[in-house]
Symmetry: C2
Subunit: 232 residues, 2 copies
């Protein structure tokens, strides 16, 4: 990795507090790799070779079972993935593919574990990172088990709007097909859900979403900070 590239990633929470020479150790064996759309970066069941960090672009994390497939998450810059598999040296539980082209920082799994064993600050950063993502999955599990498709969709719209500054209008960051899978429903169901949401003041035109009756939508979704809030 070039010095300039290291500068781009050293401020990520995962690396920020660690000792300089350990960060150097960690990053000197790393690659910053470009990937085109559709490439499958990792495949569930395989042993972990690299810790991946999204630097640019969008990554879809998904999982297969029989002939089905579901999207677990869509990651943007700053997010790392398959950290737990790397730490425990156990097979990936999820696959990942490039949704929109970008660059991925890849750190050899062996190096991550070695530095983890040496650098206490890094170990603590990993703990915090894992605690964070753990809570994220728990929220997603609650979202799935406790809400209907309509509620999940409404809640997603409110949350996504909030992340974009509560302007009441935004563009879908990826295909509806992916959103449907992410929300745990068939594409046809999402399509019909959008139709239903018209009555709640949600206008959908292609990728453009507009919220005209926030209170009605909020009443429908019943947002809950213990499910929807990304920071709590």
């Amino acid at each position: 990795m070039r010095q300039e590239e290291i500068e781009q990633v050293r401020h990520l929470p995962l690396f920020a507090s660690m000792e300089d020479h350990n960060r150097h150790e960690l990053l000197k064996g790393a690659f910053l790799q470009r990937f085109p759309t559709h490439v499958e970066l990792i495949r569930e069941g395989e042993p972990p070779d690299f810790l991946h960090v999204v630097v640019e672009g969008q990554i879809e994390v998904f999982s297969r079972y029989r002939d089905r497939e579901t999207t677990v998450a869509v990651l943007g810059p700053g997010a790392s993935f398959i950290l737990a598999a790397v730490v425990l040296d156990k097979p990936y539980l999820k696959s990942a593919r490039v949704l929109s082209a970008g660059r991925i920082l890849m750190i050899p799994a062996e190096t991550v574990r070695a530095v983890f064993a040496q650098d206490a600050a890094f170990a603590r950063a990993l703990t915090q990172e894992l605690a964070q993502v753990y809570r994220g999955v728990v929220k997603e599990l609650k979202n799935q088990k406790l809400r209907s498709s309509l509620e999940r969709t409404a809640a997603w719209i409110i949350r996504h709007d909030a992340e974009r500054g509560d302007t009441g209008r935004f563009e879908l960051p990826f295909d509806k097909k992916v959103l449907a899978s992410r929300l745990g429903m068939a594409p046809e169901v999402l399509s019909r859900t959008f139709v239903t949401l018209k009555a709640y003041g949600v206008k959908v035109d292609g990728r453009r979403i507009e919220i005209s009756d926030r209170s009605g939508l909020t009443k429908l979704a019943a947002p809950d900070s213990l499910i929807d809030d990304p920071v709590t």
Copy 2:
């Protein structure tokens, strides 16, 4: 805590590798408390006060939303819970109640964070523990999103039988009501699912389960180590 009680918990993976004086520090402020059935130990939304470790008995971890409720996990001896909330000092995402009476080790959250900041071995143990439970929730999310009720129930039976030594017969460890919630369905649905499973050689009599056609059941459930295997 008495010395004798400390002996009972010091060998848990969470405490095994840490320095003696830090373990002492951690445990000296801890309580080993008895709780009767039905008591609600923690309530989602509240700030974390103690790290809880099950020493004896059964704990149901669940979550509420609107007038609904779902069981996230049922924990037995050796399991800790709400570790992530304690580490990050953020509100509990889940509630917990006593399913069958027992004893809980309660370590003040403040102490956990203090020792975490001091003892590198403890920090690493936390990382591993969190990585482990993280993977557990991911598997559960896949289980929910990728399988039908029938498949989840069949897979649960196979897995639970395997944990008991593949004898082909075992007793439900808790009420069917709880199992239904754990598996993500209404009690009535579980009841009907058991009826359907008769055709696959599963006999249900009260709490007694018997598997007579393992291959048929396996074909139905399509067990997947990346969903069902507790150690992978």
